[in-house]
C-alpha cells in the first residue's frame, strides 16, 4: 500500500477519500492551519474579495448566457428580454454589470495594497507578475463583455478599441480585419467576442490558482513588510482570517447591493440603452470607467501608434516593477519619500480617469499629459533612483514585537535586522 496518504481525519468517508486523494489535508494545510502574519490590516481583505467577485461574475454570467442571443439583430432585444421577462433576469444582469465594476474597484485597491506595502518585492515577484496577467485578462474580458448588449457604446467602443491595432505598421490593417472577422465590427465580431468572453473567466480562474500557489509558497507580505521569523508572528488562517475576511465580504456586499438595487445604471453610459447603429456615431465615445485612465493615456499622445504603445506600456511597466524599485525596504511605512510619491501616483491615476471621461480638448489635454508623464516618471525614473537616495526608517525587530530598534548613535537607520529586507535581485 505504498504511496497512500496517512489521513488524520476521523470521519470515515473523509478519511477514505483523503487517504487516496489528500485534498482535505491540502485544504486544511492551505486554508485551515496556514500560518498567516498576525498584523494584517483590512487592505488584506481585497484578495479574498477579488475571489468572491470572480465567483459572482462566473455564476451570474452562466445564467445570463442561457438567455442571451449573440446575433447583431437579436442581442439587444435578448438583453431586454432578460431584463423584463426572465425570472429575476434584471437581478442577474444588474449584478453582472455592476459586478464588473466591483471587481475592478476591488482589484485596483488590491494592486494599490501591493504597491504601498511593497508586496511585489523579492521573493514575491512572480506572484505580482501573475497578478498583472490577471489584470490584463480581466480587462480583455470586461471589454468583450461590454460589447455583448450591442448598444451604441458597445458597438462604437468595440470599433475604437479594435481599431487601435491598425496603428501597427504594415500588418495593422490586416490584424484588424482578422480580429473583426470582416471589414467592420459586425456579427462575426459579436460571435467571437461572446465565445472569448465565456472562455476568459476560466483562464482567469487558472491564473488565480497559480497566483495562490505562488502566494502559499512565499507566504503573505504584511503591513510592516518584514519577514515572518517565529511562529509568534503568525496565526492560523482559520478562524482568524476567515473571520476577518468575512467582515470585508459583508461590507463589500453592502456596497454592491447599494449599486445593484438603488443605482444600477450609475456607472453605465446611457447611450448603451440605444441599440447599436453603425450609421450614427455618439457625440462622445467613452469606455467603461475602469478603462478611462488608459484611454486618457492613449489620447494624450498626438500620434496614434505612440498613443497605443504608451497605453500598453502603462501596464507593461508593472511587470518590471520588482526590478525598477531598487529599495530593499518593502513597506511604505519605513519609506518617507516613497510614501508620498505613491500618493502622487494614485492622484495621477485618478486625474487620468477623470480626463479620460472628458472630451480631448483644452485643459483636459494638458492635464492628461501631465498625469501620463508622472505615471512613467514614477515607475521608470523616480523608483530606480529613490532606492539609492532615500534613507529608510529603522525597521522593527519582528511582527510579534513591533518595537523599533533604537538607532545607533550617529543617526541613520542603522543596520537592518536580518531578514527584514527583500533580498537584492541577482544581477544577470
Amino acid at each position: 500500500m505504498a504511496g497512500l496518504h496517512k489521513s488524520e481525519f476521523e470521519n470515515p468517508v473523509v478519511n477514505w477519500i483523503d487517504t487516496r486523494m489528500p485534498i482535505f489535508t491540502m485544504m486544511q494545510k492551505e486554508y485551515g492551519s496556514f500560518p498567516t502574519p498576525k498584523n494584517f490590516n483590512y487592505f488584506w481583505n481585497f484578495g479574498a474579495l477579488a475571489m468572491i467577485s470572480l465567483a459572482i461574475m462566473i455564476a451570474t454570467g452562466i445564467f445570463l448566457a442561457m438567455n442571451y442571443t449573440a446575433h447583431t439583430t437579436l442581442a439587444f432585444d435578448s438583453v431586454e428580454r432578460i431584463m423584463r421577462d426572465v425570472n429575476y433576469g434584471w437581478l442577474l444582469r444588474y449584478v453582472h454589470a455592476n459586478g464588473a465594476s466591483m471587481f475592478f474597484i476591488v482589484v485596483y485597491i488590491h494592486i494599490f495594497r501591493a504597491l504601498y506595502y511593497g508586496s511585489y518585492k523579492a521573493p514575491r515577484e512572480l506572484l505580482f507578475m501573475l497578478g498583472v496577467v490577471i489584470l490584463l485578462l480581466m480587462m480583455a474580458t470586461a471589454f468583450m463583455g461590454y460589447v455583448l448588449p450591442w448598444g451604441q457604446m458597445s458597438y462604437w467602443g468595440a470599433t475604437v478599441i479594435t481599431n487601435l491595432f491598425s496603428a501597427i505598421p504594415i500588418v495593422g490593417e490586416s490584424i484588424v480585419t482578422w480580429l473583426w472577422g470582416g471589414f467592420s465590427v459586425d456579427n462575426p465580431t459579436l460571435n467571437r467576442f461572446y465565445s472569448l468572453h465565456y472562455l476568459m473567466p476560466f483562464m482567469i480562474t487558472g491564473v488565480v490558482f497559480l497566483h495562490i500557489v505562488a502566494l502559499h509558497i512565499t507566504g503573505s507580505n504584511n503591513p510592516l513588510g518584514i519577514d515572518v521569523k517565529t511562529p509568534q508572528d503568525t496565526l492560523p488562517f482559520h478562524p482568524y482570517y476567515t473571520a476577518k475576511d468575512s467582515i470585508g465580504i459583508c461590507v463589500y456586499l453592502l456596497v454592491f447591493a447599494g449599486l445593484v438595487f438603488f443605482a444600477p445604471n450609475f456607472l453605465n453610459h446611457p447611450d448603451n440603452y440605444i441599440p447599436a447603429n453603425p450609421l450614427v456615431t455618439p457625440a462622445h465615445i467613452v469606455p467603461e470607467w475602469y478603462f478611462l485612465p488608459y484611454y486618457a493615456i492613449l489620447r494624450s499622445v498626438p500620434n496614434k501608434l505612440g498613443g497605443v504603445i504608451l497605453m500598453f506600456s502603462s501596464i507593461a511597466v508593472l511587470f518590471f516593477l520588482p526590478w525598477l524599485d531598487t529599495s530593499p525596504v518593502r513597506s511604505s511605512r519605513f519609506r518617507p519619500i516613497y510614501k508620498q510619491l505613491i500618493l502622487v501616483m494614485v492622484a495621477s491615476f485618478l486625474v487620468l480617469g477623470y480626463v479620460g471621461g472628458k472630451p480631448p480638448e483644452g485643459i483636459y489635454v494638458v492635464l492628461g499629459r501631465v498625469a501620463t508623464a508622472y505615471w512613467f516618471l514614477h515607475f521608470l525614473v523616480l523608483l530606480p533612483i529613490l532606492g539609492k537616495l532615500e534613507k529608510p526608517l529603522p525597521l522593527p525587530e519582528s511582527i510579534a514585537r513591533p518595537v523599533v530598534r533604537r538607532p545607533p548613535p550617529g543617526g541613520g537607520g542603522g543596520p537592518l535586522p536580518q531578514g527584514a529586507t527583500a533580498k537584492p535581485m541577482e544581477k544577470s
Partner: protein
C-alpha cells in the same frame, strides 16, 4: 519630499480647475424634479402612470414605437385584464399569413408587442421630415437623468433667442442637445381629456408621461427597491454579527 508635496498639490489643483470652466453652447441642464419613484423607497404613482399611458397612446404613439413592451405588461400600472384585452384589441397588428400565403391583420392580443406606428424606420423617417422618432421603450435609461430630461424637454420649447436661426422643419428647445429638434411641440394644454378630471396642462401631461416612461424603462423598479431595502437591512445585521464574531475570535491575540 517637498517636491512630492508640490507635485501632488499641482495635480490636485489641476484636477479641480476644470470645474470652473463653463461648457459652451451645450443644452441647458434639465432641472431636478422630485419624482415619486426616486429614493430607496420610491414607488410609481399608479394614477399618474395610467394618465401617462393615455398621453402616450393618444399623442406619442402616433410617431414613437415602443417595441419592448407587451400589452400584457399594462396590468402592472393597475389596469385589469379586461381593460388590457380591450386596449390590445383596439390595435391592429400583422397576423402572419392566411392559407393562401397572403399577409393578414388581426386585432392585437395581450401577448402582443405594442403596435409600432410605422412599418419600418424608412417609413417613419419619410413621415417625419427625415427624422426618426426614437423608440420609447428605454428612453428614460437612454438619456442622462432621463426622467428629468424628458420632462424638461416636453416643457422646453421656446422662441429662439435673437440671432439663432432655426432650420426648416425644426423647433427650438432649450434642453435638446444642439437646441434644434424635428419634433414639433407634442403637447398643448388640453391635448387629452383625463377620465379622472385632472387638468391636462402641458406640465401635468409631461409629468404623467414621464411616470409611464420611467416604468417602461424600469419595469422592475419597485420590486428592485423593495428587495434592496430588505437585503441592505439583512447585510447590515450580518456585518454587525460578523464583526462581533471576529472580535470574539481575536480577543486573545495581542
Amino acid at each position: 519630499m517637498r517636491a512630492a508635496a508640490l507635485a501632488l498639490g499641482l495635480l490636485a489643483s489641476a484636477a479641480l480647475a476644470p470645474c470652473a470652466f463653463a461648457q459652451g453652447h451645450e443644452a441647458v441642464r434639465a432641472p431636478k424634479e422630485s419624482w415619486s419613484f426616486n429614493g430607496p423607497f420610491g414607488t410609481f404613482d399608479r394614477a399618474s402612470m395610467q394618465r401617462g399611458f393615455q398621453v402616450y397612446k393618444e399623442v406619442c404613439s402616433n410617431c414613437h414605437s415602443m417595441k419592448e413592451m407587451y400589452y400584457r405588461n399594462l396590468t402592472a400600472i393597475g389596469l385589469s385584464e379586461e381593460q388590457v384585452k380591450a386596449i390590445a384589441a383596439s390595435a391592429t397588428v400583422p397576423g402572419g399569413t392566411d392559407d393562401s400565403g397572403q399577409p393578414v391583420e388581426r386585432p392585437a392580443l395581450p401577448s402582443d408587442h405594442f403596435r409600432s406606428p410605422f412599418a419600418n424606420d424608412k417609413a417613419a423617417r419619410a413621415a417625419n421630415g427625415g427624422a426618426l422618432p426614437p423608440d420609447q421603450s428605454l428612453i428614460i435609461k437612454a438619456r442622462e437623468n432621463g426622467s428629468d430630461y424628458v420632462h424638461a424637454l416636453l416643457n422646453g420649447y421656446r422662441d429662439p433667442p435673437p440671432g439663432v436661426k432655426v432650420s426648416e422643419g425644426q423647433y427650438y428647445n432649450e434642453y435638446f442637445p444642439g437646441n434644434q429638434l424635428a419634433m414639433a411641440p407634442p403637447l398643448q394644454d388640453g391635448a387629452v381629456t383625463y377620465a379622472d378630471g385632472t387638468q391636462a396642462t402641458v406640465d401635468q401631461m409631461s409629468r404623467d408621461v414621464v411616470q409611464f416612461l420611467t416604468w417602461t424603462s424600469n419595469p422592475e423598479l419597485e420590486t428592485r427597491k423593495r428587495m434592496g431595502v430588505k437585503i441592505v437591512i439583512f447585510l447590515a445585521m450580518m456585518t454587525g454579527l460578523t464583526y462581533a464574531v471576529k472580535k470574539k475570535v481575536w480577543k486573545d491575540v495581542h
